[in-house]
């Protein structure tokens, strides 16, 4: 049996349409079978509400009496990209305020506009014959804008990895706060209620598919950026009219220590055209597998701790190494349900009809990592291989001599097998002398927990460790703690404090 999109739209128009949410569908298929479910149900609605950093909006302000070609622009002190004609911009959700930092950003401007609050525009221009004005400052609201069109380059991940932290200090990530020693797990997405798991082959979702976006009736533009369907990480580029949106479904947020992001509510109705589609919408959380990834390791290919199903994640507790670890969603399942329900209501009320995609989404695409043409520099290339050391039994006075001789501020302390057991600095030595403790041994005054680097580590990671610990040098050791050299902040130049300028 097959159904056409026209059959379903006819049912929507005459009020006989049968719509269920993706949460209800598996039991219906179990009870009626695939062909029975196809006969009984016309549309399955999905929903998700989570942090979607890759979001933003095109705004058009209209021309003021003395025209301006806005070249640099700020909205409530959040910079928007003004390089799109004269009075237009693209405001990115994650752009942060020049005055309030991570507490306020593009997402907050978008939420303020949707809430009807007024926003201050400030723009600068060089001034031309046709656009003579050089600056403008003006208050505006959403209704003053000609267009406010949300365009989200990458929404609604098919699947996203869960996060934990196997390291020994807490990390603040876009997956939230991760406690050291894998004491919590965070995950994102509504699992089997999410849009893409219900159409994993993109047999109905494509360019032009009508969707629910932030409360508006929106549209799928096409594949999203970083779309990687063959790896199970499909994404969608979506659009919708901000003037129809609601703060019930669009919320600015700050991941502390990471930055601004935007929670986007999104839902896709899946028209049931054939049995294949019905089978896909019968997906359960038990069927959806993702990886728990160690965010304590700050490299692209982070180690996978274990595989896990959404059913396990949603249960609130997942086992790692025999320990029960509590989980947190970052997305709201309650809101995802609301969205699937709201979409169902709109279809039943005849306010939302189905359409076939005008162009399919590439199902074979795989995301590529950045091919860095510069070489990633390693600690071993930047470290100083000649250094002085001392043993714990030697005196503080001897340590002072050694520092002077080595012309350094840092003296690694080693045992009889050349293994690192501590460090003393010029500060430690000065302190000992000031307190008349120069007869003490080095082991009595040394710092035992030494911040170290490995020789094959990327130098950027070591530089960040220097900064986070506010220290001047790292001791470079091999895995058996044998000292190989010193990495000094003054040798790293721009790497510390600023991005690396070439």
């Amino acid at each position: 049996m097959y159904k056409s999109i026209d059959d379903i739209n006819e049912h929507i128009r005459d009020g006989s349409v049968r719509v269920v949410t993706a949460e209800e569908m598996p039991d219906i298929v179990d009870e009626l079978g695939v062909s029975g479910a196809l006969r009984e149900v016309d549309v399955v609605t999905t929903g998700t509400f989570g942090a979607m950093c890759s979001s933003g909006a095109f705004l058009n302000f209209g021309h003021p009496e003395i025209p301006i070609r806005m070249e640099k622009m700020w909205l409530n002190n959040v910079e928007a990209y003004a390089g799109v004609a004269a009075v237009d911009c693209y405001l990115g959700a994650t752009q942060e305020s020049t005055t309030r930092g991570t507490d306020y950003g593009g997402a907050h401007v978008i939420e303020d506009l949707i809430a009807g609050r007024s926003v201050e525009l400030h723009a600068r221009a060089k001034g031309t014959d046709c656009y003579p004005r050089q600056s403008i400052t003006n208050e505006f609201t959403l209704s003053d804008l000609n267009q406010a069109i949300m365009v989200n380059p990458r929404n609604s991940y098919q699947c996203y990895n869960a996060a934990t932290n196997m390291g020994d200090h807490a990390v603040k990530t876009y997956m939230g706060y991760l406690l050291p020693g894998h004491r919590n797990i965070t995950y994102s997405g509504a699992g089997a209620l999410s849009p893409l798991p219900n159409d994993p082959t993109f047999s109905v979702i494509g360019s032009g598919t009508p969707i629910f976006l932030g409360g508006a009736n929106g549209t799928v533009v096409g594949e999203g950026t970083q779309h990687s369907l063959s790896a199970g990480f499909g994404t969608l580029m979506t659009t919708g009219d901000m003037k129809e949106m609601s703060t019930d479904y669009i919320r600015a947020a700050t991941m502390t220590g990471y930055g601004v992001t935007m929670y986007v509510g999104m839902g896709v109705p899946i028209p049931l055209l054939n049995e294949e589609i019905v089978k896909h919408t019968a997906v359960r959380d038990e069927d959806l597998v993702t990886s728990i990834v160690d965010y304590g390791t700050p490299v692209r290919d982070r180690p996978v701790v274990r595989e896990v199903t959404y059913a396990e994640l949603k249960s609130g507790v997942v086992e790692i190494d025999g320990e029960e670890i509590r989980t947190s969603p970052l997305s709201s399942y309650k809101k995802a349900r609301e969205i699937a329900g709201e979409l169902k209501g709109r279809i039943e009320a005849g306010k939302f009809t189905m359409a076939l995609a005008t162009r399919p989404i590439n199902a074979t695409k795989r995301n590529k990592p950045m091919a860095e043409h510069g070489v990633v520099r390693r600690v071993s290339e930047m470290m100083v291989g000649t250094f002085v050391t001392i043993t714990g039994e030697e005196s503080v006075k001897e340590a002072a001599n050694r520092l002077l001789k080595g012309n350094t501020n840092h003296l690694p302390v080693i045992d009889s097998e050349n293994r690192l057991i501590g460090i003393v600095t010029t500060f430690d030595i000065s302190k000992a002398f000031a307190r008349d403790e120069e007869d003490q041994t080095v082991s009595e005054i040394m710092t035992r927990s030494v911040i170290t680097a490995l020789p094959d580590e990327p130098v950027d990671l070591a530089a960040r460790r220097l900064q986070l610990n506010n220290i001047g040098a790292l001791v470079v050791t091999d895995t058996s703690k044998k000292v190989l050299g010193m990495l000094n902040s003054y040798d790293l130049g721009d790497l510390v404090g600023e991005r690396w300028h070439k």
């Binding site: 706060y177 929670y263 989980t327 970052l330 399942y333 309650k334």
Partner: protein, 128 residues
């Protein structure tokens, strides 16, 4: 239940907590404390049925005892029920009910403030 005990400059001079434990025979769990020469506070956990006896024994000039209720303020307008707070709170203050709505059990809170700092919607605050 949790008791917030504050000391002024007189209150910090004596071993008031130890004396109250000895006098009342009530064991308490010190959840947090910050006390120096000028003033201080401590958060104590006592069994509900023993609280009255312990509070009585703690009565002393310079010592103020307040039963801690509603430590966590949960702004329902801002909260989107994402649940990020659930697993970062080691005291299990937060949980979901059957409809995935966030529930807050303030009784368990030790005022560490981590949930306040990491709530993406800034929907949580503490009442000290």
């Amino acid at each position: 239940m949790k008791l917030m005990v504050t000391f002024d400059s007189d209150g910090v001079q004596e071993a008031n907590i130890a004396n109250a434990i000895l006098a009342s025979g009530v064991p308490v769990n010190v959840e947090r404390a910050q006390i120096d020469g000028d003033d201080g506070w401590t958060l104590l956990d006592v069994k509900d049925e023993e609280a009255e006896r312990f509070i009585g024994a703690l009565k002393h000039p310079g010592v103020t005892v307040k039963i801690q209720r509603d430590a966590v303020s949960h702004n329902l307008t801002e909260c989107v029920d994402c649940g990020l707070c659930i697993s970062i709170c080691q005291k299990k203050v937060f949980s979901f009910d059957d409809s995935w709505q966030l529930q807050v059990d303030s009784e368990r809170c030790v005022l560490c403030g981590r949930c306040v700092m990491y709530c993406p919607q800034r929907a949580l605050s503490l009442q000290k």
